[in-house]
Symmetry: C2
Subunit: 232 residues, 2 copies
């Protein structure tokens, strides 16, 4: 059955625009295409060997995911999140993830393990100082939390929020430091959940959001000041 579903997913994947969008998404999240960069239709279309119309469809897909911003008659740019953007993102995450976490008592173990396991993996990678993998596991942890709600749509929207947030990380100095410093806090959340104290876990998650938001906003402000110190 699993091989069948796998084959189906493979068959359904198609559309040049989709493939181009996937490729560009990786480049953006890798940081190869830096925030603020303008994506010329002609240049990118020529480099990838696709027509302008198809490329524009790919741009639309990435604009939907908020990785690109579209300015009329000026082109598309890699989004460079501002402090306001980060505040907005965390306001959304607070509501979604705290609300999802409240469903912990109602869900089965497969959903619960989707929250527990990423933390185990993160600590394992942490001892090896593989900060990139720690960050990836951290994302899976929060993805697992959203999954508790049991809504496919909510999970997809959260993925967009996460992707946008990773874009904000690209602007600051060392992204890994953030993931590293909040790992013990995440461990505590899982332990509180295992001990049955859901309310305490939610409180600690909210505290994590407060800290992470303030930290990221400050680093973003520093980066902005460093790039444009001649303002006004």
């Amino acid at each position: 059955m699993s091989t069948l579903a796998q084959g189906k997913a493979e068959l359904e994947r198609a559309s040049t625009a989709q493939k181009v969008a996937d490729m560009l998404r990786e480049r953006v999240l890798d940081g190869e295409l830096a925030p603020g960069l303008r994506l010329s239709e002609e240049a990118i279309g020529g480099a990838l060997g696709v027509s302008r119309n198809t490329l524009r469809e790919a741009f639309r897909l990435l604009t939907r995911d908020r990785l690109l911003v579209h300015e009329h008659s000026r082109g598309v740019f890699v989004r460079s999140p501002t402090g306001d953007d980060v505040r907005d993102l965390y306001a959304a995450r607070r509501v979604i993830e705290c609300g999802a976490l409240a469903k912990w008592p109602d869900v089965d173990d497969v959903r619960r393990n989707a929250v527990r396991m990423p933390i185990e993996e993160a600590t394992a990678h942490g001892t090896r100082k593989d900060w990139a993998k720690v960050g990836a596991a951290n994302i899976r942890f929060h993805r697992g939390i959203v999954g508790l709600a049991g809504s496919h749509r909510l999970s997809e929207e959260s993925d967009r929020l996460f992707a946008e947030l990773m874009l904000a990380f690209r602007v600051v100095s060392d992204p890994e430091r953030l993931h590293m410093s909040y790992l013990p806090l995440n461990r505590e959340i899982v332990e509180l959940l295992n001990s049955g104290d859901v309310g305490g876990a939610i409180g600690k998650l909210r505290a994590y959001f407060d800290l992470a938001e303030a930290d990221l906003v400050e680093q973003l402000a520093q980066a902005q000041a460093g790039l444009a110190p001649q303002q006004s």
Copy 2:
């Protein structure tokens, strides 16, 4: 200042694809383009006098909002929500709106009035038996609740959820009955909020979701059975 912002918004509005998408969105939400209907590129493009490429961009925009579904090499169709879709929608709304409502003590009066006023308007329209306007005010009520969270992204996602839900209403027999029957429940929520009992309001909101979801799922099942009684 307000006139400036208004002018800017007017200037920024452009893009044929955007206008086409707006027109189609109305038609879909009006029910003129019924759920399940296939939208031929040639037919619609010819009728609206836009090229296929531009029309396809409009289709992408509406697909992002989940009003249309795209099937590879088969075309785009007006979405016809299933029971699973409705369950997913309500799972998302439960998390978002209950979480947003918890922020009631922290927000100012302008945000609170965005929750209170629609209920006043709904009851006013209810005495005149103008059920369509009652439904619209009901949407504004829930939109106001989401607005308490203070996240633009969350509000936009909720708008998409609402639009999709209105699509589900189009499938059932009389959409107005639903809005009408839940109006007193919404009044109680506002009264609980005004009395300071936020927890009670959240509980009642959750109860509203349970009732509305069950009702809609059942009506959807009946509509499905009525349309395809020869199955298996």
